[in-house]
């Protein structure tokens, strides 16, 4: 049978013929990986993906829908209305990761809150150790909440020029501090919603930044978390809520999580992800940080 008569698309047929495969018999003995020279094997990539570290959000339900937590090597965008808990989630992630790097563009990072969450984290860890009966001396190294804060690289960013400069500088910073595992930008949006009359320029600058961040995430196996605000969009005669920075920005992140209110409960929804199915889960913001939603609310509803 000739390749030219196979029921495949014209472009594939063209590629096969130009690569020298004219008949089916010449094709049948070749393995798929040989056929795709230089490309990565999907099987290997799957293994790589499975071994990838994920960063817990401290909320089991949220981790569940995220497939174990925030993915390293990927850019994740998290957005929601003011007061929904974006900053809280940012602080929680910063505490959970050994060495985080936090950009604060809005001034909402409060040390006492970080300390509170860090204290809860240390308590939980010692509780967990006791639970596992890990009584070896080596494991008894007591972690202090202040140690966690000590490890946070914190930048307060006061203008978009600073923000762009800092993202450009990250490459150098990361090669000096290879132990940094997560970069949190709270928020990517704030400085880009002022003083930009030329929206085309803003889009170019932002997509440039997004590409840099993606490259950083790949090169240094980092998780990059961008917090975004929401805005209203006027389409078809009605207003709708969307994440800020426009339509073209929505292509810039690998994963997109939207936080929203449902009644009196906070929910997270996976809006975009190449590997996760869209799902939502409730979470709550407690004085100890981000946790599972308290089930007594559900119990009340059932009665």
């Amino acid at each position: 049978m000739e390749v030219s008569s196979l029921p495949i698309s014209a472009s594939q047929r063209g590629k096969l013929i130009s690569a020298g495969y004219t008949s089916l018999s010449s094709l049948s003995s070749v393995s798929s990986s040989d056929l795709a020279r230089g490309a990565h094997n999907a099987w290997d990539m799957l293994h790589e993906e499975e071994s990838m570290t994920r960063i817990t959000t401290s909320c089991a339900d949220l981790d569940n829908i995220l497939g174990g937590g925030i993915n390293c090597k990927e850019v994740t965008e998290i957005g929601g209305v003011p007061g929904i808990g974006k900053t809280q989630l940012g602080i929680q992630l910063a505490v959970n990761v050994q060495i985080p790097l936090e950009f604060d563009t809005e001034g909402s990072f409060m040390v006492e809150r970080a300390l509170q969450i860090a204290e809860a984290c240390v308590e939980d860890m010692s509780e967990y150790n006791r639970f596992l009966r890990n009584d070896f001396q080596a494991c008894q190294v007591k972690m202090q909440p202040t140690d966690i804060l000590e490890n946070i690289f914190y930048f307060r960013v006061c203008s978009y020029t600073e923000q762009i400069a800092l993202i450009n500088y990250l490459d150098k910073f990361m090669s000096e501090h290879k132990d940094v595992k997560i970069v949190i930008i709270d928020s990517i949006t704030f400085h880009f919603r002022q003083d930009f009359d030329d929206m085309a320029l803003r889009t170019r600058v932002l997509s440039g930044l997004a590409l840099k961040l993606m490259k950083l995430a790949k090169d240094f196996s980092l998780a990059v978390v961008l917090l975004n605000q929401v805005t209203t969009k006027y389409t078809g005669g009605s207003f709708q809520l969307t994440l800020a920075l426009g339509d073209s920005w929505s292509h810039s992140c690998t994963n997109r999580v939207i936080l929203y209110w449902n009644g009196n409960e906070r929910y997270a929804y996976i809006d975009k992800s190449p590997s996760l199915r869209s799902a939502s889960a409730s979470y709550s913001v407690t004085h100890r940080g981000i946790r599972n939603s308290t089930s007594n609310v559900k119990r009340v509803k059932m009665m």
Binding site: L101, G107, M110
Partner: protein, 299 residues
């Protein structure tokens, strides 16, 4: 650029006391420095009272919850409540005479007042304010900026067209960006007040959008939401709501709502609520306004 070490600064953000321990407890010690706190309320709820009291108590030494600092009061609603300030200042001086540096200390000397009539003027004032703070030779440096109210500036100059609204929200971010930069640069506490608008639509729609801890706010029996919309809500770090509800107390049978004949026994019940704040849980506290100032009530 160098990252900051979080342990090289105090482990709690410095706060400016509201002048009452009960209120302070509700907001985690007072109004935080380095960020913007917004007070939202309908008229006659006590926004200005809070602001005046705050600018007096900022003068207390840091050991007593103040900032040992002067304050800058930008007012956009006229006239400036000078007689009330003098009344509060007299009480403040009498009750805190031991803490103030010398006996000749007149609290009003450390409150700088500036009137602002338009958004453009506010933007023009920003660099002047910055150089004023930088070059201030006063014994008490400026550590508190009050803008009372931000809503009055924006509610008159702009029309409800997409073009104007876009221009408006870009100005929000510009003003907020400048204020935040100053707040970080000089360790300022920034307080802005905002008005409310009535909520006519049901829960759906943009104004019914839930922001923060409270699903909906009822003030004076009306359903309200903060003015200036979602864009402005993104510009502030913390938002506090002052709710006010009138209550008619008749002499025989306690509380009757909406009675209305007996004006002598009418009183307002006021409540301070945390709508959102990066460092505070959902909490609220009742307060009352007396001749001496604003005080929390424990029930």
């Amino acid at each position: 650029m160098r990252p900051q070490n979080l342990l090289h600064r105090p482990l709690t953000t410095q706060k400016c006391t509201l002048g009452c321990p009960i209120l302070d407890r509700c907001v985690g010690g007072g109004i935080p420095c380095n960020s913007i706190t917004e007070l939202v309320a309908e008229s006659a709820s006590g926004k200005t009272q809070f602001c005046l009291q705050l600018s007096l108590y900022a003068q207390l030494p840091t050991s007593h919850g103040g900032l040992s600092a002067s304050s800058l009061y930008l007012h956009t609603e006229f006239p400036f409540p000078l007689s009330r300030l003098r009344q509060l200042s007299a009480t403040f001086r009498n009750s805190n005479s031991a803490l103030l540096a010398n006996n000749g200390h007149n609290p009003c000397d450390h409150i700088f007042v500036q009137s602002v009539h338009s958004v453009d003027q506010l933007l023009d004032e920003m660099p002047k304010i910055e150089s004023f703070i930088k070059n201030s030779k006063s014994r008490l440096p400026i550590r508190l900026i009050v803008i009372d109210s931000i809503a009055a500036l924006f509610r008159s100059d702009f029309e409800n067209t997409p073009g104007d609204l876009k221009k408006r929200s870009s100005l929000f971010f510009k003003i907020s960006g400048k204020l935040k930069a100053m707040a970080v640069g000089f360790g300022l506490a920034v307080v802005v007040t905002n008005q409310v608008v009535d909520l006519i639509e049901p829960n759906e729609g943009i104004n019914g959008l839930r922001i923060g801890n409270l699903g909906c706010f009822y003030s004076s029996g009306r359903r309200v939401c903060p003015a200036l919309g979602l864009a402005w809500a993104n510009c502030v770090n913390s938002r506090l709501f002052l709710l006010r509800n009138e209550e008619f107390v008749s002499e025989e049978n306690g509380t009757v709502n909406g009675g209305g004949e007996d004006f002598v026994c009418r009183r307002a019940r006021r409540r301070l609520c945390v709508v959102f704040a990066p460092h505070l849980p959902d909490s609220s506290c009742e307060f009352e306004i007396t001749r001496e100032g604003v005080f929390g009530v424990e029930r």
